[in-house]
């Protein structure tokens, strides 16, 4: 208490560079800036590499970026849940297998069971399937959580067991058969030319996102004024709003500049009885539905993690489990709920993955657990517990997927791809620990 005086007196004497002042005024997370920088480096790097060695830079094309967004969705959805699991000092190795068995269960339900009662192509099939799948995933997750919290088995062991058990059950569900094709409406959740919201829809989504960004800034400022807290300078508020909206507009334009292939346009025209004009027609993809699903999951999970008691308790438990217990938090129930949430999110990923593949196979989601954990960790989630962000994990998933598809585009061997991904993971965590040691 006596040393406070010296500490607070020492602060103004500390000389700040323009950059530090800028970062302080805008309150931007420098770690996130670093990740965005790394992401841009990867994108430009692969593009230039392709231009130089293959004569064609394929990475920074609307087609590739659109595909990248779809490929990232499934991992990103699970990574948001993995953040909470790792923040509370647990781990979930079973998500890949859980995805597999949930996809198989949903496949059987919508292809073999429901059409018998409702008739093939009934509009309720996909609704029932998705709800049943999410309930199924949440139940298995809750079961894992129960074993971890109430029986005291370490999460590593429970979910390692789960990895084997659920992969095996995925096989048993249909004795290894591939179940295809899935319900026509269900299929749209996986993306593909029809599984998009088109150009107008994309503009609407983009507009809503911009409105959301501005609303958050205004509300935040109003709250601070209400309680007399220090405010961001006005120019910083405008800058954040402008940069945020510019990013949204940029993404919208990229998504809208990828047209349907000519064949799809012809089929669509034939189905809808109109003539394709001379020279073809430009029909935009726009946002793919799985991307919007992942975006919605990201928004909801960010809300849960930062604005609700549940989220606050997750981080408190991660920071000091004993203190959380002594503060009256039911940590066992919390653990069970966190794993149930992880299971539910895995089921959403199972919907996306099997819809995208237009089938359910027992190998679906293999090795996904490693990509999901890597995405969360690259996104800044600390294994020591208590630290992690949802948007970080989504960015982490994007980094992982960019590396993966970038290497495919420039034609690296599968063997090299694995080695690079593994190396990047280790280096990323090393850089992160350096950053933390410096900023702590």
């Amino acid at each position: 208490m006596s040393e406070d005086i010296q500490e607070s007196a020492a602060e103004p004497a500390y000389k700040e560079s323009a950059l530090v002042k800028f970062l302080r005024a805008t309150e931007v997370d420098t770690r996130m800036l670093g990740m965005v920088g790394a992401l841009l480096l990867i994108w430009v790097g692969f593009h230039v590499y392709g231009q130089i060695f293959n004569g064609f830079g394929a990475f920074l094309t609307s087609r590739n970026l659109w595909n990248l967004s779809v490929q990232t969705s499934s991992i990103a959805v699970m990574a948001t849940g993995m953040v909470l699991v790792i923040v509370t000092r647990h781990i979930d190795l079973s998500v890949g297998s859980l995805l597999g068995v949930t996809a198989m269960m949903m496949g059987v339900l919508q292809v073999w069971v429901l059409p018998q009662y409702l008739g093939l192509g009934h509009p309720m099939i996909w609704v029932i399937t998705v709800i049943a799948g999410i309930a199924f995933g949440a139940m298995i997750g809750a079961f894992h959580g129960y074993l971890i919290a109430y029986l005291g088995i370490p999460a590593f062991i429970v979910t390692l067991g789960g990895l084997l058990v659920w992969r095996g059950s995925a096989y048993l569900v249909a004795r290894g058969e591939t179940i295809a094709p899935v319900d026509n409406t269900f299929k749209l959740i996986g993306g593909g030319p029809y599984g998009t919201v088109g150009s107008t829809g994309t503009f609407i989504v983009g507009f809503l996102l911009c409105v959301g960004i501005v609303a958050l800034l205004v509300m935040g400022r109003r709250q601070r004024i209400r309680f007399g807290f220090p405010l961001r300078p006005m120019w910083a508020e405008y800058l954040i709003g402008a940069v945020g909206s510019a990013v949204v507009v940029g993404v919208v334009l990229v998504m809208n500049s990828y047209p349907w292939p000519a064949g799809i346009v012809r089929r669509y025209a034939a189905e809808n009885n109109f003539e394709v004009p001379e020279g073809g027609m430009f029909i935009s993809h726009g946002f793919a539905i799985p991307v919007l699903v992942a975006l919605a999951v990201g928004v909801v999970m960010t809300f849960i993690a930062t604005r609700t008691r549940f989220g606050r308790y997750v981080f408190a438990i991660g920071g000091n489990p004993e203190a959380a217990e002594l503060a009256g938090i039911n940590t066992k129930k919390m653990t069970m709920l966190i794993f149930a949430l992880m299971g539910a999110l895995t089921a959403i990923s199972a919907v996306i993955a099997s819809a995208r593949l237009n089938s359910a196979t027992n190998a679906l989601g293999q090795l996904d657990e490693l990509y999901v954990i890597a995405a969360a960790v690259i996104g800044g989630t600390s294994f020591a517990g208590g630290i992690g962000t949802i948007y970080g994990a989504i960015l982490g998933a994007l980094v992982m997927q960019s590396l993966q598809s970038g290497m495919v585009l420039v034609g690296f061997d599968a063997a090299i791809q694995q080695m690079v991904v593994g190396g990047v993971l280790v280096v990323a965590v090393w850089l992160d620990s350096l950053y933390r040691r410096k900023s702590a």
């Binding site: 208490m1 006596s2 040393e3 406070d4 005086i5 500490e7 607070s8 709250q223 601070r224 209400r226 309680f227 007399g228 807290f229 809300f303 930062t306 604005r307 609700t308 008691r309 989220g311 606050r312 981080f315 408190a316 438990i317 991660g318 920071g319 000091n320 004993e322 203190a323 959380a324 217990e325 002594l326 503060a327 009256g328 938090i329 517990g385 208590g386 630290i387 702590a440």
Partner: protein, 268 residues
């Protein structure tokens, strides 16, 4: 011998807390063995004993951190059910643990309100309101404190201590348990905690002060209860005994004439 004991100022009053015949065993070790003690409003009771005498364990039973094997706890004369920390808080029992029990990765406001968050009318966390309240409380306890946005991990020992104290007194505690409250503090900060205890005492709050060091406690406490090997050695008003006599109780389990002997007193 009877004349040595001064008249009991608590005679006829109902104790705030009355713990009767409390026992708990971990494996084969009886950490607390049929211990009884009590606390009256506006009273400071020093709970003394060596490291491992069972004082922290006894107090963790009161604060709901450990479930007791046997015995009864009365609050205001009525039997109380305390099997987890939430129950204890419902009775107005607040604890400042030796380890402070802070979630290191979140800020002061989040720690102050941990488990009792203020919510907006939409059921979301009202961080601004919590921070505003925290600024008020901390302003009273530690006027120089300004680091409301930093995780408590980055605060000094004294600052962390004041966050833990703020948390305990902010919710209208009636019974305050302080486990080695000054162990991590310098002389000036220890002085400040002493002042705080006197203030709280004036407000009619009952305080259990736990320490292995008699010097920390003797001047602040109205009464001392001494434990040894999980048993109560005895109970004495600080006006009836000397520091050396209390030291004899702690080390040898020997009860002086001014004390009321308990089951743990040595019989010579």
């Amino acid at each position: 011998m009877e004349q040595a004991i001064s008249p009991d100022p608590n005679a006829g009053k109902t104790p705030l807390i009355d713990m009767q015949d409390i026992s708990i065993a971990f494996g084969g070790i009886k950490a607390v063995d049929h211990a009884s003690c009590n606390l009256y409003p506006g009273e400071v009771v020093g709970l003394l004993g060596h490291n491992g005498a069972g004082k922290s364990t006894l107090i963790k039973i009161l604060s709901g951190a450990y479930p007791r094997d046997s015995g009864t706890i009365y609050v205001d004369g009525a039997e109380a059910t305390i099997t987890n920390p939430r129950h204890a808080k419902d009775y107005g029992i607040e604890t400042i643990y030796q380890t402070l029990a802070l979630a290191d990765n979140v800020d002061a406001a989040a720690n102050l309100y941990l488990g009792r968050e203020l919510l907006t009318r939409w059921g979301t966390l009202d961080d601004a309101a919590m921070e505003a309240e925290t600024r008020k409380v901390m302003g009273r306890l530690n006027p120089n404190f300004q680091r409301f946005k930093d995780p408590v991990k980055q605060l000094s020992g004294g600052q962390r201590q004041s966050v833990a104290i703020a948390r305990a007194i902010h919710f209208n505690a009636r019974i305050l348990i302080m486990d080695e409250p000054t162990a991590a503090l310098g002389p000036a900060e220890t002085e400040q905690v002493g002042e705080l205890i006197k203030q709280l005492k004036k407000d009619g709050i009952g305080i259990f002060l736990i320490s292995h060091d008699i010097h920390d406690v003797f001047d602040l406490a109205d009464r001392v209860t001494v434990m040894k090997n999980g048993k109560i050695v005895g109970d004495a008003r600080t006006s009836d005994v000397t520091k050396d006599e209390v030291l004899g109780m702690i080390i040898l389990g020997k009860c002086p004439p001014g004390a009321t002997p308990g089951p743990g007193a040595s019989t010579e």
